[in-house]
């Protein structure tokens, strides 16, 4: 994958001028406690200590982190492993350098009144799914259940869910995709009680895939200077994550300060931080190869239409975290 010439030229121009090393981080989604570790590391000066100047770029519904990486718009991105591996198969050399999240926060939230008790009851129902790279875990799960998603007989009707939980509240869908730390609580906030709902966590269903890892372009890793920069970045970021885990309320406050849209609320962010802390608790930042293998196995087991067709090679490196967490 060759670099875009002009971009390279510009990067070369700007790189020489900065005293601190610049890192551009592309988030997977909008500014929220899901990314608290990075904002904390920035506010608390952990990046400064390493001599880094980090620009955190929020994502959004139509921003594909993989595309930003391909365009050279960022040095490192937060992404889910399924979409990173799918992009890798498309020829984009994305490599996982750290995995701050141990567990998956994905779940399917259903209305109890639809009569759904277990996964076998999905047939014939309408389910809301996120797309844009986030559909892979769902499709893999349905494939392992043997439920068709293409609208054929005995399958489920899939809706491309917007970014909110309205389809469930308005009963346009029987179930919607939610994250344990975000959308689930939006449903609760809207006035539904937990006993009105039936939830299926991907962790419990044994179809959890790795979320929110840090990915860089493989060809850049050949450069020792870039590698050294990433070691510093991962070290400072993990420091930020552990600080956020220990001080969830302060971390939520830092996130709120950084939210430029002014749309986030304190209660929601504090609760989100609490839920996020559960997901990051099991990780010091290093990817556990066993988790990786499990994710790949789930993605390969997609029946007739798997997310990835063959086991990827060189999709992760432990060198950065080995160096950073010494």
């Amino acid at each position: 994958m060759k670099k875009f010439l002009i971009g390279a030229a510009l990067a070369a121009l700007t790189a020489g001028s900065a005293s601190a090393e610049e890192v551009k981080l592309q988030l997977k989604w909008v500014t929220q406690a899901q990314f608290a570790g990075y904002y904390v590391a920035q506010e608390k000066g952990f990046y400064d200590e390493e001599g880094l100047e980090v620009t955190i770029m929020p994502g959004g519904p139509d921003i594909s982190p993989t595309q930003v990486m391909a365009g050279g718009g960022a040095d490192v991105t937060v992404d889910w492993m399924p979409s990173a591996l799918a992009a890798r198969e498309k020829g984009l050399d994305l490599v996982n350098i750290a995995q701050p999240f141990k567990s998956s926060g994905m779940m399917l939230t259903c209305l109890k009144e639809t009569g759904i008790k277990g996964p076998e009851d999905f047939k014939g129902k309408t389910l809301g799914v996120w797309f844009g790279g986030n559909e892979y875990p769902f499709l893999s799960w349905m494939a392992t259940l043997g439920i068709p998603t293409d609208g054929s007989e005995g399958g489920v009707t899939v809706l491309k869910q917007g970014f909110n939980v309205d389809p469930l509240l308005q009963k346009q869908a029987a179930c919607i995709s939610t994250m344990t730390y975000n959308e689930y609580w939006q449903v609760i906030d809207a006035g539904l009680a937990p006993e009105d709902l039936v939830t299926f966590k991907y962790e419990d269903e044994g179809v959890a895939t790795l979320e929110d890892g840090l990915y860089v372009m493989g060809d850049k890793l050949a450069d020792p200077a870039f590698k050294a920069k990433m070691v510093k970045f991962v070290r400072a970021s993990m420091k930020g994550w552990k600080y956020a885990e220990a001080n969830p309320d302060e971390a939520a406050g830092i996130v709120l300060e950084n939210d430029e849209s002014g749309a986030q609320t304190e209660t929601h962010q504090k609760r989100m931080m609490g839920e996020i802390a559960k997901l990051t608790a099991g990780s010091q930042g290093a990817l556990d190869p066993a988790d990786y293998e499990r994710t790949v196995k789930i993605l390969l087991g997609g029946g007739s239409d798997p997310v990835i067709s063959k086991a990827p090679e060189g999709a992760y490196t432990l060198e950065i975290t080995d160096e950073a967490l010494k």
């Binding site: 498309k90 609208g151 308005q170």
Partner: protein
């Protein structure tokens, strides 16, 4: 780099050839088709040359050749999306919205009071960015094409209404006085003088509305849709880094939009052949 050089040379040659053709044969039917076609080919050759010459990543901008190949192999998929978005969403909304606008214009034309009240409010509502309305309409009308048609109705209604109201006023006193001397009724005046005189304005609105309808139907699908449709495909294919498919959909949209606009322009020529702007000079 060779390809880039060739593309630049081709561009230069084609531009000169086009100028010469336009100067000599501008009234020939074949030239009127050939000139824009050559211009389009030139753009594609330049695009191909730039992508190859600068080694642009296909994830950022695929080459036209890759897009054509993807287009050819996924025609069935593209047709399904086209039917869902254009034939159901855009067309239904367009017909409903334009029809309602024309009827509304004629109704409020008789009531100065209503006009004075409705037009400013209408202009205000027309200024609502539909992008923001789309998620709300998905919430109201469901995920299928009905909500997309509703977005289109809102998008096309006001441009057509404003143009039609202006068109109904596009007669001189002299012409209206003449109708009075013929002791023509309101209906006669409307059908024999004012509606024909309004046509250039109406078609101006209808032509603007074609592209609005298309964009409205596609954009609305970004905010929730069944798993088919052009907007759905574009947004999901970006996530899957299938850029050639994205551009194939964009090509379908451009073709459909041009056809739609062309059909309206043709209709306009048939209806308003008497208007000065229809004579190319």
């Amino acid at each position: 780099m060779k390809l880039l050089m060739f593309a630049l040379a081709f561009w230069l040659g084609a531009s000169l050839f086009n100028s010469w053709l336009a100067a000599r044969f501008s009234h020939r039917r074949w030239a009127q088709l050939f000139v824009p076609a050559l211009f389009g080919v030139t753009l594609l050759v330049l695009w191909e040359g730039v992508v190859a010459g600068f080694a642009i990543s296909p994830v950022i901008l695929p080459a036209p050749s890759a897009i054509v190949a993807r287009f050819a192999q996924s025609t069935a998929l593209l047709w399904g999306d086209f039917a869902q978005t254009i034939l159901k969403g855009a067309l239904a909304g367009y017909l409903l919205g334009c029809g309602a606008a024309i009827v509304t214009a004629i109704v409020i034309d008789r009531s100065p009071f209503l006009q004075r009240g409705l037009m400013p409010v209408g202009n205000f509502v027309a200024a609502l960015p539909i992008v923001g309305i789309a998620p709300i309409l998905v919430m109201w009308f469901g995920f299928d094409w009905q909500s997309k048609a509703a977005v289109v109705v809102l998008m096309v209604f006001f441009p057509v209404l404003v143009n039609m109201v202006a068109g109904l006023k596009a007669t001189d006193h002299l012409q209206r006085d003449l109708m009075k001397t013929y002791s023509a009724s309101y209906r006669d005046t409307l059908f024999k003088l004012r509606l024909p005189a309004a046509m250039p304005f109406l078609f101006n609105g209808l032509k603007i509305a074609t592209t609005l309808a298309l964009i409205g139907a596609i954009v609305a699908e970004f905010f929730g849709s069944p798993t088919r449709g052009m907007g759905f495909r574009i947004s999901t294919a970006v996530g899957q880094l299938d850029m050639p498919l994205v551009w194939s959909e964009i090509a379908v949209a451009a073709l459909a939009g041009s056809g739609f606009f062309g059909a309206m322009a043709l209709l306009e020529r048939l209806v308003t052949f008497w208007h000065p702007s229809q004579r190319a000079r």
